[in-house]
Symmetry: C2
DNA sequence: TAGATTGTTAATCGATTAACAATC
DNA sequence: TAGATTGTTAATCGATTAACAATC
């Protein structure tokens, strides 16, 4: 059902939001919807919704609209929700622990299988139902379990070194919370930088400039 | 020194990143830099950097480049770092506590002055050196202290009601971590939605599609 | 069938890049 | 002065919106 054209980054960034809204509508027992109705709920144009969805295939039906259950399933497939990619988390500080507990990884196509920290005193402590490993066990663990995604909740200092290590151990993607822009260095590795500080600063800017 | 043209959202989103890179360079004692050198460090084009900065004023010098200390200060002023906007946080769960402790608010132009939660059992517990207030004290507190920014680390259910309340109490801006898109409802209120789940899902998509 | 709404092409808009004259 | 690099205008590129024929 999917087309062979390259999908732009702008479209990819909107997919999770579509998925979220569709899930909500389904839980309210809405069965079908036109692009116009959906556009009003999401604050987009109907045109954009139709363009976006048609990057992947013709999920609608002329004269009817979109079957939401079907569309939800299709987008879930596109995202790869069922793949349950093996994921590890590095850094069990405040933020790392919150991410581990707060994010529903399974619903986002990921399976969090281990947490590591360099602090000896955190070794063995429980986070999100898992026991924290010391970072010295990382190499052995990766060899055995071949995780694909690494979440970095570590300080800027050392982020580069840890990322280099992880790439050499076969990690293919980073969800990066460190104050460090990883994409600069790795061409073939997938990186999603989450700069919470930058996000707050844009808010600050807008508050101070109307 | 600032110009009167409206600044596009794309430019605003890049400002914090410029600020971050400039801060790093200064801490490495780099005093001056041309747009081309900076573009190589940041993975942008020199043209874009010059265009971006000229939205706000001519901060460079022909034949020389940019004085980094001066540029850093200018961007800090634009962002409003020194304004120290009064900020409150609603929701002292895993995520709320991590945000409170992990983010350096003062460096981002904000002053976190109070934390609230609806859970009676959290009342009085310490988070980031502050004592958690029960949500019933919110109205009185806002009347007295007039906070401007509210951080929402609460579940989707109730987010709407809490946000409505906060708007009526004079809150002007939201840093929203709830799984709920606030911008749909308020036209004049500034909202920065942080959808960590959506961020992870785009990574999942890319991992599963090359 | 008639009405509705998609899928898709064409037009518009905005953002990025290139080019270069101004100038330090 | 000559060289370098900005500030700014013009050209290009990409993303969004509008329009409409296809079709359920």
């Amino acid at each position: 059902m999917s087309k062979n054209t390259t999908v732009s980054n702008s479209v990819i960034r909107r997919l999770p939001r579509y998925y979220r809204f569709l899930g909500d509508l389904l839980s309210q027992n809405v069965a079908k919807m036109s692009s116009r109705e959906l556009s009003e709920k999401m604050g987009l144009t109907a045109s954009q919704i139709r363009q976006d969805l048609n990057c992947f295939g013709g999920f609608g039906q002329q004269g009817y609209g979109y079957n939401l259950a079907e569309l939800y399933k299709e987008i879930g497939n596109l995202l790869g929700i069922d793949n349950q990619v093996k994921t590890i988390l590095i850094g069990a500080g405040n933020l790392g622990r919150a991410i581990a507990s707060h994010i529903d990884f399974n619903k986002r196509g990921c399976n969090l299988i281990a947490i590591f920290d360099s602090d000896e005193s955190l070794k063995g402590t429980e986070v999100a139902g898992m026991s924290v490993h010391h970072i010295s066990k990382l190499h052995e663990f990766c060899k055995e379990n071949e995780p694909v995604i690494a979440i970095l909740c570590i300080p800027k200092t050392g982020a580069q070194a840890v990322a280099d290590d992880l790439v050499s151990m076969g990690i293919k993607a980073f969800w990066n919370y460190s104050h460090y822009d990883l994409q600069v260095n790795y061409k073939d590795i997938i990186v999603e930088n989450v700069h919470l500080g930058d996000s707050l600063l844009t808010l600050t800017y807008r508050v101070n400039n109307q």
